[in-house]
Amino acid sequence: MTAPQLFFAYFAVMITVLSLLMITRRNPVHGVLWMLVLFVHIAGLYIFLNAEFLAAIQIIVYAGAILVLFLFVIMLLNLKKEETVKKFQKHWLVGVGTGIIFAVFSVSIVRKIEVFPQLGKYTIEAVKAEGNIMTVGKVLYTKYLLPFEIASVILLVAIIGAVVLAKKRIE
């Protein structure tokens, strides 16, 4: 195994193990914490794939915003009882079986993937020359302007939605 492969192997194993840890924790707070570690590893993988900007976003948005939101809600709901009740559903075995079959199916199909269409111009060198953030930014604000704007509307809807659903309304 070459060094990059070892490096990947570490991340792959860690990501898989952390995912499993995350979904099996009884206490949601522990789940969130494992997920935080998981996200850091995914960010590491992104750096490994020359996507520094995304790695940063992954930490800032996912770990910094989304996970904090989760924690916040868990605290708000104050789920003490959760410690004592069963954490899995009655038919959890069926779920696990389905998931495993799912994994077997998809892995057995995608494992042969290596079809390469015509490669793009964003070689590692080209991106490095300009800097990852610069490259992403240029593309994002020119070619992908429309999706960018739509994303902003989605965030707006999220704000309105959260307010409408969760705020106290004076009747």
Binding site: S106, G120, K143, P147, V153
Partner: protein, 483 residues
């Protein structure tokens, strides 16, 4: 493959209807703060939609194909026709929801704004020529409708509906993303047209990985359209959501789902028609079966209409399965007809709702003809149309689809569909029977409002007119799709 692109202000032009909708949505929220009378807010919403409609009509001519934003956004007859459906959907929904939302104590600006944002999402979906735009449009629509389903937040049923819709919706969009990622990985692009050419040049039509990606995308679209076995959310959500939103959801997201299904399957994956048709055929049969059969045992009319809407999705899907332009036209035509008959039926359901009375049980309709002959006659028209009895529009919708199906060589599918449509007549006519051939249990008072009357008049007229003079609609569909 990816080039430097510069954007000028002119490029925004094709987006004018969408921008109008978003701006009006924001205006509506602001207006809500200063205007006391909520009628004004609703009327501004309708007016804004009409402006957007005018924009769609005027922009480049209805049928002229245009593309913008480096080919991510297209304006053609197909998308414009769907936008027409979305406009009518939101206008009719606002008309029927006004008094109702006041009763539900949820008539505020955000409600109308979210309707407009959801509609914007659908419009973006209809115009999307790139999987990224498609995904974002879908999320915009979906997130808005999740909120709308739960907007009557004092009702536990509404909460539960929003909850289920949200969780299953998020689950399905994960599948969509998986599908997009595989497609991207294999073809190196997300543009629908480039995908189509990549499938040819890279010879991917037989690739199982490509197939897997397509299946995942179909799963997600099937979820939005409520195709079995991805329909499970629909009955619960339709029942729990506020009725006006149920009406909105049963047409809008379904139509948007068909818009992207048609665009993706016919635009990008036309070369894999054999494969996707073979996936969709059992799904269509299952959908029709589940919808028509389970509806028979329902006692709640919203739930019954939910199953009916599932069954109708099955009929519509038949048109897509053919893989022919004619089949696609028949599906689009069916959607337009379905809009009127379905919203009309829900409008009657809404009229039964009043302070302290849900009016959602089919038994509440017993003897309605005695006290409210006009409303009963309208319900009869809508039920006949949903059942596909001539001379209502529902008949022409079904007839056209079945014909295209037979024309494409799927005779057995047509036979199955006719059989299920025969079964479905039972539960529609059961409502009619309750209305006309039973004695009332208790006095039913209808909640009336002028806007409701307008909505009912429009839907009933359209159901009858499109049944007797369907050529107008058929030609509109024809020109929209053929250009």
């Amino acid at each position: 493959m990816e080039m430097e692109t510069t954007i000028s202000l002119l490029d925004i032009r094709p987006l004018v209807p969408e921008l109008t909708m978003i701006c009006v949505g924001l205006i509506v929220i602001l207006l809500d703060l200063i205007v006391r009378k909520k009628e004004v807010v609703a009327i501004v919403g309708i007016a804004g939609t009409l402006v957007a409609l005018y924009g769609t009509y005027k922009l480049y001519g209805f049928y002229e194909p245009q593309s913008a934003f480096s080919g991510m956004f297209v304006l053609d007859g197909y998308s414009n026709f769907f936008k027409l459906i979305f406009y009518l959907n939101i206008i009719l929904t606002i008309c029927i929801s006004f008094k109702y939302m006041a009763i539900e104590k949820a008539s505020f600006g955000e409600y109308y704004a979210l309707l407009m944002f959801a509609t914007t999402g659908m419009m973006i979906m209809a115009s999307a020529a790139d999987l990224i735009v498609l995904y974002l449009g879908l999320e915009l629509m979906a997130l808005s409708t999740y909120i709308l389903a739960g907007i009557t937040r004092k009702r536990q049923r509404s909460n539960e509906a929003a909850l289920k819709y949200f969780f299953l919706g998020a689950f399905s969009s994960a599948f969509l993303l998986y599908g997009i990622s595989l497609t991207y990985g294999l073809t190196g692009t997300t543009n629908l047209r480039e995908i189509a050419s990549a499938l040819q040049t890279l010879d991917l039509n037989g690739s199982p990985i490509m197939y897997l990606g397509l299946i995942f995308m179909i799963v997600a679209f099937g979820f939005k359209i409520a195709l079995a076995p991805f329909h499970m959310w629909a009955p619960d959500v339709y029942e729990g959501a506020p009725t006006s939103i149920t009406a909105f959801m049963s047409v809008g997201p379904k139509a948007a789902g068909f818009a992207v299904l048609g665009r993706v399957l016919f635009g990008a994956f036309a070369g894999m028609q054999v494969q996707w048709a073979s996936i969709l055929i059992p799904m269509a049969v299952l959908t029709m079966a589940v919808g028509s059969i389970i509806a028979l045992a329902q006692t709640n009319i919203k739930r019954m209409l939910a199953y009916s809407s599932i069954a109708h999705a099955g009929y519509m899907l038949l048109g897509v399965i053919t893989g022919t332009t004619g089949g696609l036209m028949s599906t689009v035509n069916y959607l337009a007809i379905y809009l009127f008959m379905n919203i009309g039926a829900f409008a009657i359901v809404i009229m039964l709702r009043r302070e302290g009375f849900q009016g959602e049980n089919i038994e509440d309709y017993m003897g309605l003809s005695k006290s409210h002959p006009l409303a009963s006659a309208l319900m009869l028209i809508f039920m006949f149309s949903l059942a596909g009895i001539p001379p209502t529009a529902g008949f022409i919708g079904k007839f056209y689809v079945f014909m295209e199906v037979i024309k494409a060589g799927y005779v057995y599918l047509a036979i199955i569909a006719v059989a299920f449509s025969a079964i479905s007549a039972f539960f529609y006519l059961r409502v009619v029977m309750y209305i006309y051939m039973k004695d009332p249990k208790e006095e039913v008072v209808l909640t009336r409002s002028p806007s409701m009357s307008i909505a009912l008049a429009v839907t009933a007229m359209m159901v009858l007119i499109l049944g007797i003079f369907p050529s107008f609609l058929l030609n509109l569909v024809r020109y929209s799709i053929l250009g």
